[in-house]
């Protein structure tokens, strides 16, 4: 791949990527979330989203010839196979049927002689035979007759790999985080099968967050960060330490820790003990954490490790267990109202789903939680029997936040869905600020918004913390952003707290923590 460039609507995600891969070589591709790994692989595999978003620049050369795939089918025909993070198997079919799907061997019969080949019968002996061959090639035994829906996740993953291997023309196999769902033993078996593939002359691109796997199986490591290839090195010449440093290390250490304050002396405002949260994709297993009054605590970690589960669980949006104390008082879990009554506030990472009333005015969005929880912006009549919405107070508070947070809109009566992502995020913040909480959870406040808006959002958060003395816990997958505004940063890995460090510590330490307990 030469000089690959890609932008999504002017947002540059890949810049000058150069990759070369020999026959039978195993390449390990790693990088933080959003570094561009998946986009690069989608380009290589000719996925539709790439074409729909304006295509890409640069060339892909296969065996010295320039190729351009318009669809995954072209890529398949050229000998590129891909195993996706999400399973693309038919649950009700057996393993062998899935392996040969759409490439089934067929027999002619009387009906198909008349009506054409769509009515050919399937040759089940041949199907079984091919499936067996592919499973042998993989080197890990999967029951070929088992129905997919009854399989453990690991076996599904292997079935997908077997499906790719059953294609005779396969030259390059892309594995996108295949070990994420595997147990340790299965992962080892997978690594062994990668080795045997490479001996058979199949080149493999292996994407994973488990760096030691890369070192044990790959010939070459490519580290990506922010859409650039930052390192391209032979695997035996490097170490886990070095890779994690390249993954997170940025040249922006300047901004980090500009105004870090030490709160070790302050009293503990929130103490979390043995918290578990059942949030799909972000399971929290066992988190114990103390938050000091007045600090900005960052919670970082790779996607899927459980960092988002922590605030969602405490605020009662997902099923949770354990104990959470605020100011010495226990907060009942699984009850959003009780949390809000206890002066907690939460800015959700799911802006459009949880954070906003898209069809309502900005006024409603800003004032609603404060109105419902604290009876603000209401006028009481008949001794409190009738609580009338105080439109004037609502407009005033909304206009104040529009000014303070520099929200771009046509007025406080505009609908929330008409704003841009960054301004919607500011509305979410305003909503939380209007609650005047003692303690604020902010989840992924900068996701999907542009750089300028990011800076404003972070600044608003910091000001809110420093001026009103509100304790802020900010969850973000961008480590550098956390280092910019947080006092301390906790890293979540495998559903647990892997460690808490002052924001001033070097990036590579955080990188080590991130991958330390990945399961």
């Amino acid at each position: 791949m030469r000089n690959i460039k890609k932008d999504f609507f002017g947002n540059q995600v890949l810049t000058d990527i150069n990759l070369t891969l020999q026959e039978g070589e195993v390449l390990g591709l790693c990088g933080e979330n959003g570094a561009g790994k998946s986009t690069l692989m989608k380009i290589l595999f000719g996925m539709n989203v790439i074409r729909e978003t304006g295509g890409y620049e640069g060339d892909i050369l296969l065996n010295g010839q320039k190729v351009s795939f318009n669809s995954p089918f072209d890529a398949l025909a050229a000998g590129i196979g891909m195993v996706h993070q999400e399973f693309s198997l038919i649950p009700g079919f057996s393993a062998s049927e899935n392996i040969v799907l759409n490439r089934e061997p067929k027999k002619r019969n009387v009906v198909s002689e008349i009506f054409g080949e769509r009515l050919d019968t399937l040759d089940y002996n041949e199907i079984t035979g091919r499936a067996e061959k592919a499973i042998d090639k993989m080197g890990f035994t999967v029951d070929k007759d088992m129905v997919i829906s009854e399989m453990p996740v690991g076996h599904k993953q292997f079935t997908e790999i077997a499906r790719e291997l059953s294609k005779d023309q396969l030259k390059l196999l892309i594995l996108d985080e295949p070990t994420a769902v595997l147990t340790e033993k299965e992962a080892e078996a997978l690594l062994a099968s990668i080795r045997s593939m490479s001996e058979n002359g199949i080149a493999v691109i292996f994407i994973t967050h488990r760096l030691h796997e890369i070192l044990s199986v790959c010939d070459k490591v490519v580290v990506m960060r922010d859409g650039f290839v930052v390192k391209d090195i032979a695997a035996r010449e490097t170490s886990v330490n070095e890779i994690s440093k390249w993954m997170v290390g940025r040249n922006v250490d300047t901004a980090a820790g500009a105004d870090v304050r030490d709160h070790t002396e302050a009293k503990t405002i929130m103490s979390i003990r043995r918290l578990w949260v059942d949030m799909p994709g972000e399971t929290v297993r066992d988190v114990s954490l103390d938050v000091k009054e007045g600090e900005i605590l960052g919670i970082g970690g790779l996607a899927g490790q459980g960092k988002l589960g922590i605030p969602n669980g405490i605020m009662g949006l997902y099923e949770a267990g354990g104990t959470v104390e605020l100011d010495g008082k226990t907060i009942p879990l699984n009850n959003p109202r009780k949390c809000l009554d206890a002066s907690l506030a939460f800015v959700s990472e799911d802006r459009r789903g949880v954070g906003l009333l898209l069809d309502e005015t900005l006024e409603w969005n800003v004032a609603f939680p404060a109105m419902q929880v604290q009876n603000k912006f209401l006028k009481s009549y008949l001794g409190g029997l009738i609580k009338w919405r105080d439109e004037k107070a609502i407009r005033e508070v909304t206009e104040r936040y529009i000014d303070e947070l520099a929200i771009k809109c046509t007025g406080s009566k505009q609908k929330a869905k008409e704003l841009s992502g960054g301004n919607q995020q500011k509305i979410c913040l305003a909503k939380a600020f209007a609650l005047e909480p003692k303690f604020l959870f902010v989840s992924e406040p900068t996701r999907g918004i542009d750089v300028g808006a990011k800076a404003l959002v972070l600044e608003a958060l910091r000001r809110f913390n420093r001026e009103s003395g509100v304790t802020v816990v900010m969850i973000s997958s961008e480590l550098e952003e956390l280092r910019q505004i947080c006092d301390r940063i906790a890293i979540v890995s495998g559903g647990k707290i892997a460690g808490i460090l002052p924001a001033t510590d070097p990036s590579e330490d955080f990188g080590m923590l991130m991958v330390s307990m990945v399961k």
Binding site: M315, L317, P336, R337, C339, L340, D341, F346, S348, D350, G353, V354, G355, L356, L357, L358, D359, E360, W364, F368, P369, M371, Q372, V373, N375, L378, I386, K387, W388, R389, I402, D403, A406, I407, K408, C409, T410, G411
Partner: protein
Amino acid sequence: MYEPLDKSSLTLRERISGFVNSFGLPRLIIAAFLLVLYIAAPFVGAGFWIQISNTINRFSWNAIMVLAMVPMIHSGCGLNFGLPLGIISGLLGATLSIEFGFTGPMSFLMAILIATPIAILLGVVYGWLLNKIKGGEMMIATYVGFSSVSFMCMMWLLLPYHSPTMVWGFAGKGLRTTISLEGFYDKVLANFLQINIGTLSIPTGTLLFFALLAFAMWAFLHTKTGTAMTAVGSNPTFAKAAGVNVDKMRLLSVVLSTWLAAIGILVYEQGFGFIQLYMAPFYMALPAVSAILIGGASVNKASIANVIIGTFLFQGIVTMTPTVMNNMIHMDMSEVIRVVASQGMILYALTRKTEATK
């Protein structure tokens, strides 16, 4: 940081299309059609003021049942196709009030008082059911409405009613299909402060009664609870995260809607002069649904203005087509047009869950 829209730069064409968008094309067409009917009325020999009176009368009978749509739309339960359930509560109130021997205006008051607890009870059960099947409310509501009508078809026969004004003459038991309200609450609201100018007659009392309920609904939507109800309909997850009990709000909206339907049918009866039992409630939901949709409401947004405009347009078409069209082409087209307009409107609204118009 305001960025006011510069309206002066719009061309005439943009303005017209903007107006059509904001008013809603279907509503515009129906309004234009109704206008044509009114203009045509005197030419085909139907008195203009009589027609206006008819329209206002029918508006006054039906408006409360259309108003009953509002709470459930606000809470995100969709259109209340289960309206017959509330209507049955009203019918029970009406028949029981007569059975207990109340007459005149008192029978109307008692009918409301008896219907209220029944409507609340049925509303709670209905709301509980709708909370179990979030996402499929409208379909389930339809079946709830239909099955309750069928169930009551049996009950009207079996319940031990004895009042001679209501039971079948020969058997002495089982309620008749149509019960006259003469001597009970026939026109009890309509005659209150009725205005008669020439051929124009306005049932002031009924209109005032509707205005009272509409004002109460408008006011309710401006309270803390009403705001929470709207937010639940707009984004349940947001409401939950803001500490609102989503299921409770939905339940409340269903109870409100059912109760309004019960009151609505009583008001309808006092205008119409008869209680209609058995299969009659079966056909009550669709006109109310299409009226509010014609009024510019959508599946998840509705205002009092939608109720008023919609009821007027829908009932206007229903009253005007028979007289005008039949006089014009000597063929009974009214039923066809009514069905096309009402069902077509529902279909149209269900296919596009977009914003409501003002």
